[in-house]
Symmetry: D3
Subunit: 247 residues, 6 copies
């Protein structure tokens, strides 16, 4: 199997972290291809930044998707996942979606814990878009700034563990998801310090991508994710233009 | 008052239609500025196309928003409206949002009637995003292709009237919204043939923009639509880069 | 345009305040007609009092509605608005409805802040009736009694500002509505002290009434707000009797 | 026990029917007092008519409630029930409420079947107000006019049975409620012709009133149904004025 | 009337308490038959224990239901009630269901107060299953262990009263339900100390069972509670086998 | 990895089919253990039968779970899954749950298609219990009886394909789940005849079980799925007694 992780953030270092965690979580023989947005912001935290990331995600999938079994949009609130699911012939999943669906098998209600308050509204809309707000206990964001997106999981580690505890004891979460690609890999490190299962978004996405690759679902020719009609489009990179044009 | 209509579609002819209907609906003294996406598709019909349009909307508002009292995203399911509402200092509304909220004052449940089946899933997600699905009676799309986006309202006129009737008699709509910028102006022409109020998206957006312009709400410095922190961003036009950077 | 503000409370002084704020918010050339319930309570605060106010609202619209373009039921939780919307040939809106729909264009979730705890249940039912509970952050009522309904906005001013802050910081409101006709005009005075947009119910209703007046929607002849069949009725004032009898 | 049935319709003949069915359904020793609105419409069918009936219900309870253990508002969508529950020291229930809660013990989803299409919107709002829309299968109204409200159950009998069948086979109802006081007593007559339990609103209300009378709940001094503060009120009959004034 | 109370717990002492409270709440002439699960746990507190209790409930109804007018499953979150309602020819109600529906006539939102935190998740699922989560204010459980299930209501009495107060003042409950068969009878003892109505599950179930017995609903032959087709089954007691086989 | 498939039906032939499909869907090196309920019904179709199956599921997991990485309750609406998730130290998933969560990655709304109308109510409650009713397009059951549970997928094959088409064209499903263990393996055979992805419950459960086995979540010591306190229990097989007693 070949799984594409498309990071709609522009930080190569975040992509590297995603790739490492994905590879560690993968089954033997699964190949991980990880690519980075050629423009945009280092890490998406708001709705406005997600607009930029959504388009970057489509461009990355158009350019790198060929030959992959499944593509993962590897930013937590899944920018562009619906559009990508329409447009491309291979299955596409979002990292938040994969984490939330996995969490649903581990508990009645999940909390999402992350490292910056800016993300809360965007994450909440993602939960709502997935029709999973009944399953959400809370979104807890560690307040205050941070020095470096590449080391934020160490820098904020204790606060993140504390937020996980609050999610369990105050919000009655049965399971906690660590949200945000920069936290990839942290779940394993703190699992023994949190009294409920902790889900890593990248690991969950990796394994859920394998589920879809194994089940080999057909591309819909009906329903809301059928391939759209060909549409002329201007001002986008050639691979994406071809995807819209069905070339 | 100065109201910006940003058409995230690439069709200048659709922008012209929007501008004409907006001006006809405006109060005396209101100035309408109408601009067109410099790239993308002639008319957005799917989630994937909306991803492209959302970024175009941000670019248009960054370039043309200065000096406007309110901006309207003038494609029916409001691509990028949440991001725009965060990013810019002036109020931003979507055409679908304005039409739906206006419709809520005219009836318990509204239907959206439009000219192409491709739009249904995208429209439905827009209704859900607005938390208005309890108020939705149905979305009715006239099936089959059409010859020209500029004359689709004439070409499909009888079928659209029939769909309005079905919305009332089969789906129990109290009010009908004609969705899609290419239908701008049609509501007036068919109102006498439909037994419930018919809402024109452009006219509703024009008048709702005036409401906000008159109320002069402050830009939030708290809450989920507060201006986000400045963020370095690459690969976007200079005005949009400045908006992200708070330059 | 001619807009009727029907105050279902019996306090002429509250009507005067409503009229003054409405006129200040109106477009040039808009005429405001403000009338007061001939019986009932000085200000409606409970479900039981709203029952009395609802009938008063119908009576006022029956007597004074002729020649008006739109009628506003000018008590915050909109007593009788559904019945009025059925019965009369002109559009009818409620003050709470107008404020809430306006707030929806300014934020994802709104709080309603008011001056007396008695109002909370009635307001909440109004939000539910409008199908907007997903958009509600909270209803915050300043506790304790007050001396005079005519000066309550000054008397409770600091507490109301504090409640607005709590709505934003504790309940995550993106926008605050000041509820209750006795608070008309306060929003402008405190807007600079609240970090999110503050919506004045009377000003919002004034402008939304103009929206409907401009759009000139037809009276429904189908759907749930079609004119009901003529019905003999006894024991109500002659203008209302005529409205029920379609005389 | 002494149970007050307050008919907010002005038809004494409907009251007589209600009283007869209530007495037949009552336990031995239960006394039924049935009173009729002194004004209003012969039978309430719309939101506007319900506004008139709601006030009549308060007046009837104020005048006749003393000495009763429980009061029933005996029109199907329960005009004024919330206000009455606040205002009076005895428990108050609505006929629709009693029927729906009873139906919930007999099936997962109930349908309401009635004799006139005008009633559908008002009934639906009643279901929503009770937070029971998840339990509603459908509201089915027999179309067309009728000759006499006193014999409508005979006149429309076959059509009502057919509507019950449609509710079961098309809408998947587990239980059917016959809505509207003029249908009181019909359930027993047609029960053997409908393949699911049929609930009579008056009989259900009679028995549920006995439940509350037996449990003797205290009047709330806290919560949203606590007795409101005394309030001066003008223009209402003396007993109702006293209720508002806590005289 | 003859009402069967089937206690799916294995404690005869709890059954005795249920029977005493039921008899005290019953109308003159109503006979109460109370039976105890022959196996299982002394009191059900978790989902896993409810699985055992659900089967015990079916066995008890199969063995003792004949000749009864209505059966009550007398453990608070109603194990097996849906299956029992399908399987048996007589009406079946659950104690939680009866208490919640009764509470709905006394207030807009109810809280459930009980004596052990273990019960919260199971109770919450019961509320959801009944489609009543909109009507739920909170579930409050007194923390800490207890010495004896038979005297827990005395042992935890003060804490339970305090929890009722918290439900009212913090969670805005209009009415409180005391959950759990071991608390049967406590409501009467503490009603004067709680500012809103307090509902006793056993008394409510007793009276609601009489409602159904009086209304004599037919057994459904359609809908989701129609008698299922006969099904061979092994490994269950003979009376239950016969119920499945329609012998 | 070692995955336990516990079939709460008593048909060994159905277990054999489950095991074969699970093995075909498994990753290399995954071991499948499949066990059959020692009592109960040949295939569960109703709520009452699910009560029996739920207890059988607990017994099977208690007896055979030791040494397994994950257990699957292999009947479509997941009898006993919540209780099992509390009680056992290993993760437990249901077949319906796994299928629905997988389907959520393939479309906005899924339909469940099955071979007998009796199952609809039980399946619908399962969807509701999972908080996924927003994602459900429909449940479609092929009407009429069948000859043999072991060949029902061949016998009803054409009707099942037709029902899948109806789910897509009439109910707007984006993806179809074939429900019911007796249909295991059919999805692959008919996928090319259905225009949207078709999900096989057993294959989805197999792969989702591997996801959980790979992620190795800890057993919760807090939240609603923490291990319950030890509880004495009588009348159950020794392995289950030990599970309740934490022996």
């Amino acid at each position: 199997m070949r799984i594409l992780f498309a990071n709609p953030n522009s930080s190569v270092s975040v992509t590297d972290r995603i790739a490492a965690v994905a590879r560690a979580a993968a089954s033997p023989g699964t190949e991980v291809v990880a690519v980075t947005a050629p423009y945009g912001v280092p890490y998406i935290a708001t709705r406005a930044e997600a607009v930029i990331g959504a388009r970057a995600a489509l461009e990355l999938l158009a350019e790198h998707g060929s030959g992959c079994d499944v593509a993962v949009i590897a930013a937590f609130a899944d920018p562009g996942v619906g559009g990508a699911r329409e447009l491309f012939p291979f299955p596409v999943i979002g990292m938040a979606e994969a984490a939330m669906l996995t969490a649903c098998m581990l508990g009645r209600r999940f909390s999402i814990v992350t490292f910056a308050t800016a993300m809360e509204p965007w994450y909440r809309e993602c939960v709502d878009d997935n029709g999973l707000s009944q399953r959400l206990a809370s979104i807890r964001c560690v307040p205050g700034g941070f020095r470096d997106i590449n080391t934020v999981q160490e820098e904020k580690g204790e606060e993140l563990v504390a937020a996980c505890h609050d999610a369990v004891t105050r919000d009655n979460a049965d399971v906690v998801i660590l949200g945000g690609a920069p936290l990839a890999g942290l779940a394993g490190a703190i699992a023994h310090r949190v009294p409920v299962p902790v889900v890593d978004g990248v690991a969950a996405a990796m394994r859920q991508a394998e589920v879809l690759a194994a089940l080999r679902p057909r591309k819909a020719t009906a329903g809301t994710f059928r391939t759209p009609d060909a549409k002329p489009i201007s001002g986008v990179p050639e691979p994406l233009r071809k995807a819209f044009m069905r070339d």
